[in-house]
């Protein structure tokens, strides 16, 4: 009995050291936002469900350390266009990707589109989101922004789609019509990099949609992460030699982020691995959230 009591006391004493400390909590129009702090790690959490938690994390002791594989995978998209001058990013998160981009490309101008004002605020207050004369934040729905940008004849060298949170998919940002708008916003050398997931029936539909909009694309999956990054271009896809050359050219700028870009070249899959008969998602048919709850 005594032993049990001591064990319980010890367990209780060690609890606060390992548990997440919630340093900010707010209910926005779109979701519950929580900022957690553990020893040296601060995370933005959109859902309280265990398996779908962190949107982004930073290492507060080493801010240049990129914690999440999908963030690193996003930068692999730069191998398809290593000299972007103007970028568009849909979905801000903690602003990590934007921070790295404006650091490694001193000339890059970037439009950041985030539908949730509260996410922008949290990125500023808790995630060292860097803003300067080269960044512009637009608090608006991604689809509304792209449609307006198409009407205004805007062009981007790099478009990053990072609006899927894992708990809810904005279905109007998954359709062929949206992808066609994105494609028409790209310059001739432009590249779109999309952060998404694998492991549900949605995989086939999403792949079919990207293929219908862009033709063949680069498919990047890392084992055990569940993450998937799609890299598509308006013109023909660069061959592996070009990807390698770009990786070597960019590498010195990414050394401090502990990221070896060339490793990704061999990981890009060019062969379709989805069910070839799958229909593309359209504005008329896009039950993405229902499909995501189904297994492949």
């Amino acid at each position: 009995m005594k032993r049990l009591l001591i064990t319980l006391c010890l367990a209780w004493l060690t609890l606060p050291a390992t548990a997440d400390l919630v340093i900010h909590k707010e209910k926005s129009l779109y979701r519950n936002i929580i900022v957690n702090q553990t020893a040296g790690k601060r995370c933005l959490v959109f859902s309280v469900k265990r398996e779908l938690r962190n949107q982004t994390c930073i290492d507060t002791r080493d801010p240049d350390r990129i914690i999440f594989p999908y963030v690193k995978m996003t930068f692999a998209g730069l191998l398809a266009n290593a000299t972007p001058k103007r970028a568009l990013m849909i979905g801000l998160g903690g602003g990590t990707i934007s921070n790295v981009l404006i650091d490694v490309f001193p000339e890059l101008e970037i439009d950041l589109v985030e539908v949730d004002r509260a996410v922008v605020k949290v990125a500023r207050e808790y995630f060292d989101f860097v803003e300067n004369e080269r960044t512009q934040v637009h608090v608006v729905d991604g689809r509304v922004f792209t449609r307006r940008a198409v009407a205004n004849g805007e062009k981007y060298d790099l478009i990053i789609l990072d609006a899927l949170t894992g708990e809810y998919i904005p279905e109007h940002l998954m359709t062929l019509e949206f992808m066609e708008e994105v494609a028409s916003l790209l310059t001739d050398e432009g590249v779109v990099v999309s952060n998404t997931f694998e492991g549900s029936a949605l995989y086939d539909y999403e792949s079919a949609t990207y293929e219908a909009a862009f033709g063949p694309f680069l498919n990047l999956k890392m084992p055990h992460t569940g993450n998937r990054v799609i890299v598509a271009t308006r013109s023909t896809l660069p061959d592996n030699q070009t990807l390698t050359e770009n990786a070597r050219m960019l590498q010195p700028r990414f050394d401090k982020y502990d990221l070896v870009l060339e490793d990704y070249v061999a990981r890009f899959d060019r062969t379709p691995d989805w069910n070839p008969g799958t229909r593309a998602l359209t504005d008329q048919y896009s039950p993405a959230n229902l499909l995501r709850s189904r297994t492949r």
Binding site: L29, Y30, V115, V140, D141, G142, R143, V144, R147, R148, A151, P170, E171, H172, T175, E177, F178, T282, D283, Q284, Y285, P287, L290, L291
Partner: protein, 208 residues
């Protein structure tokens, strides 16, 4: 053999159920239809719900007025036909209308409100006329008017609940939006013929 009056009443209840089903199915698809132009934020739903509520209230008022003048099941059927016909431009030219609004109104809140009005106001208002007119067709004695109205709200709201559930759980997974809308319009036309035929065969003497 059920009485003519029973069959007459059942027809009115069934048609009211169908209109309740279709109203909510279209309302739910409304948010989906507007999303590619105005996003899927809370204000888009605010626009859709506002337009449907205002349209229904106008419909209730008008339907009530129309029920004063020689109410007939055949006239009632024309609400269904007119709703179907006025939904056709939404199906065929919805995108053009939203494009037109999008290019003229920058703020997606007002854009979605105007677009929802253009797309859904008229067919919804006409569907709204069905409820009060149904009450008039069913009520024979003022003593029972509350009971009849209660039964009618019960049936048509249950239809709305089913329309919401089936559309959001299953129909969007099986069909394209325009396929669902076209089917709804076709069902409304079928309702028109049912009303017409029932009027010819079953209208009780005191309704003639």
């Amino acid at each position: 053999m059920p009485s003519k009056e029973f069959l007459f009443n059942m027809t009115v209840f069934s048609l009211a159920f169908t209109s309740g089903f279709i109203i909510m199915s279209i309302e739910l698809l409304g948010g989906r239809i507007l999303a590619p132009y105005f996003g899927s934020s809370i204000y888009v739903w605010g626009s859709v719900i506002t337009v449907f509520m205002v349209a229904l209230s106008v419909g209730y008022l008008t339907g009530g007025h129309l029920s004063l003048h020689q109410p007939r099941l055949a006239k009632y059927g024309f609400f269904f036909l007119t709703a179907a016909v006025t939904a056709v431009p939404t199906i065929l030219y919805g995108e053009n209308m939203m494009d037109w609004v999008f290019m003229r109104i920058e703020d997606p809140r007002y854009g979605s409100l105007v677009a929802a009005t253009l797309l859904f106001f008229i067919p919804t208002a006409i569907l709204g006329m069905i409820a009060p007119y149904s009450v008039r067709l069913l009520v024979q004695e003022t003593h029972y008017s509350g009971k009849v109205a209660g039964g009618l709200y019960f049936v048509s709201t249950l239809g709305s609940a089913l329309g919401t559930l089936l559309t959001s759980f299953y129909l969007v997974l099986l069909f394209e939006i325009n396929e669902i809308l076209t089917t709804m319009a076709t069902v409304l036309i079928v309702c028109f013929f049912i009303a017409l035929i029932t009027d010819r065969t079953l209208t009780p003497e005191d309704h003639r």
